[in-house]
């Protein structure tokens, strides 16, 4: 066993504990700045994972193969740390609306620890514990504004549906373990094909997929997303949209392509993936059309993006898997740009209505530009990150259609294109509200702190860099998915 492999996780958990303790010694008015300390510490960890110093970028397995460090887990760990850093920036801007802000920071860091473990999970016990660490932390993060009814209500809804999905998942794990006798993904892969006809085993696989489908908000397990996204504090919503979803996807990819590859490539399961992906895209995009609440709109948009990401899973080839990784990297910057603007602009307003954006181009040109770029990238317009991600995902579906000759892939391709066209309408509705609203009520300029400006520029740079120079990330992603089948 090589315990030094988990040094990154141990450092993150230590950071969370230090943040909680520091709260005791800090005067209340300075606690807000603990967020910057957490950002600095996570930045050092991110650099360490790139520089390869210490043991942050070692590869290998630990705990009898339950924990694996490989290209895939390293890619996701870096993605999660970047996401947590940007979410903490948003949280600092949001701190005037939260009590007990340092607990909020440390909960974000603990959720990050869960995501790091999820990126390395190679065992059902690890999968379950890491997913629960993320989910239980998010119950608290979602309902953190205790004085706001919407926040509590969102928390309770997330709690009930989250606990329901974990009950399904754990029952599925019990059935899989009971029939095969294996908890480890690598060992399960060796024997899974013998159980392809076992009804109990297949039911177990299905139940585990229910649990993971809930995490990524795929149809028909998406009902929680709109209410939870709307009621949760804005930084939590941002972390839910990227962190929790990406953790769901890394676990889904490990489960499908490393634990049960022989079942995944069967006709029944690939057809199911095609259908779920198509319906998720259509559902998310159609339901987003009438939305006026910005956070609810982004919730439906995040459901549709889960559908686009599932295209890469349904394609069942390495290009599709690499496209998922690339798409998540682009989605990270896009979503955080959008939620940063929402946190800043809607500060004074009680509602989160799209009309609150009226006159934003006069109030703060930088914020208007950030939100516009985010919306254009989400809609998939070149040359931004969202376009290239969608292009790669669709390309992998075309490849799958050519190699397998399954007509379902052409239907899926058509559905995805229809979804993109529908989404143009509501994304450009937001852009129109920024630039072409009639008689904005409030034209006072919006004060932005230096950190907020830095975050906005970081997100814009990320969106453009991924869109204009995709090769660096794409090559890394192709290497990372090399171990998947």
């Amino acid at each position: 066993m090589n315990a030094s492999l988990i040094s990154l996780e141990i450092s993150v958990i230590g950071l969370g504990l230090v943040l909680m303790l520091a709260d005791l010694f800090m005067p209340a008015e300075r606690r807000k700045f603990l967020g910057y300390a957490a950002i600095a510490a996570l930045g050092v960890l991110l650099l360490a994972s790139f520089a390869g110093c210490g043991s942050c970028s070692l590869t290998g397995t630990a705990f009898h193969g339950a924990f694996v460090n490989d290209g895939l887990s390293l890619f996701f760990k870096r993605l999660f740390i970047i996401a947590a850093i940007l979410v903490l920036f948003v949280a600092v801007e949001f701190s005037d609306r939260l009590t007990a802000i340092s607990e909020y920071y440390s909960l974000i860091v603990f959720a990050l620890a869960g995501m790091l473990f999820a990126a390395s999970a190679n065992d059902f016990a690890m999968l379950f514990v890491s997913i629960e660490l993320i989910t239980i932390t998010f119950y608290v993060l979602v309902s953190f504004q205790r004085n706001k009814l919407a926040s509590l209500e969102a928390g309770v809804k997330y709690l009930i549906l989250g606990a329901l999905s974990s009950a399904f998942m754990i029952f599925g794990i019990a059935l899989i373990w009971g029939t095969t006798g294996q908890l480890n993904f690598t060992e399960l892969a060796a024997v899974a094909s013998q159980f392809a006809d076992s009804k109990i085993f297949l039911l177990g696989v299905l139940l585990v997929l229910v649990g993971l489908g809930f995490k990524i908000a795929a149809f028909p397990f998406q009902i929680w997303a709109p209410d939870v996204y709307q009621g949760a504090p804005t930084p939590t919503t941002a972390f839910l949209a990227i962190g929790s979803k990406a953790a769901g996807f890394v676990l889904l990819m490990r489960f499908l392509f490393s634990a049960i590859p022989s079942i995944t490539h069967s006709h029944a399961l690939s057809t199911m993936l095609i259908i779920v992906s198509g319906i998720t895209i259509l559902y998310g995009n159609l339901c987003a059309l009438p939305q006026r609440n910005l956070k609810r709109l982004l919730a439906y948009s995040s459901i549709s993006h889960a559908g686009y990401l599932l295209l890469g899973v349904a394609a069942l080839n390495a290009n599709g898997q690499a496209a998922i990784l690339y798409y998540l990297a682009g989605y990270l910057f896009t979503v955080l740009a959008a939620f940063l603007v929402i946190a800043l602009v809607l500060r004074q307003l009680e509602t989160e209505d799209v009309s609150g954006l009226a006159g934003l181009n006069q109030r703060s040109p930088l914020l208007a530009a950030t939100l516009t770029i985010a919306m254009v990238s989400l809609a998939g317009i070149p040359p931004l990150a969202g376009f290239f991600g969608k292009f790669l995902l669709l390309k992998s579906v075309v490849e799958a259609a050519q190699t397998t000759g399954n007509p379902g892939y052409y239907c899926l391709l058509f559905t995805a294109l229809v979804g993109v066209v529908i989404s143009l309408y509501y994304y450009f509705n937001v852009v129109r509200a920024i630039y072409w609203s009639k008689e904005p009520k409030d034209v006072s300029p919006i004060e932005m702190s230096g950190a907020a400006k830095l975050t906005a520029w970081l997100c814009i740079a990320g969106i453009f860099a991924l869109g204009l120079f995709p090769n660096a990330v794409l090559n890394f992603a192709l290497l990372a998915v090399g171990g998947l089948k």
């Binding site: 629960e132 239980i136 009814l149 509590l152 209500e153 928390g155 709690l159 009930i160 606990a163 006798g181």
Partner: protein, 101 residues
């Protein structure tokens, strides 16, 4: 009659279905939450009986993890439900309707 794996699994599936039925049918948040715990324990029962009849201990170890996680979940969940009750003076799902299209 010899009590075998099938009997235990039948009980486990019955418990799971009862819990699911409770989550769907009941209207009180606390009862729904109890039903959820029933579903988790159904999975525990399945794991332990598989463990006993297959002579492998991994399942029992996993049960310890599940019990611990469920305890954490209950701590957070009950706190949340109590906070909601204080705000609304009600723990019924019909009252969770402040957010709609």
């Amino acid at each position: 009659m010899q009590v075998g794996l099938h009997h235990y699994l039948t009980v486990s599936i019955l418990l799971f279905s009862l819990g699911l039925l409770g989550v769907i049918m009941r209207r009180n948040l606390l009862v729904i939450y109890m039903s959820l715990e029933l579903m988790l324990n159904a999975a525990n029962l399945a794991l332990v009986s598989f463990s006993r009849f297959n002579d492998k201990l991994d399942g029992q170890v996993l049960v310890f993890f599940i019990i611990t996680v469920a305890a954490a979940e209950v701590a957070v969940g009950l706190a949340l439900i109590v906070a909601l009750y204080r705000k609304r003076q009600s723990a019924h799902v019909e009252d969770l309707t402040s957010m709609k299209l």
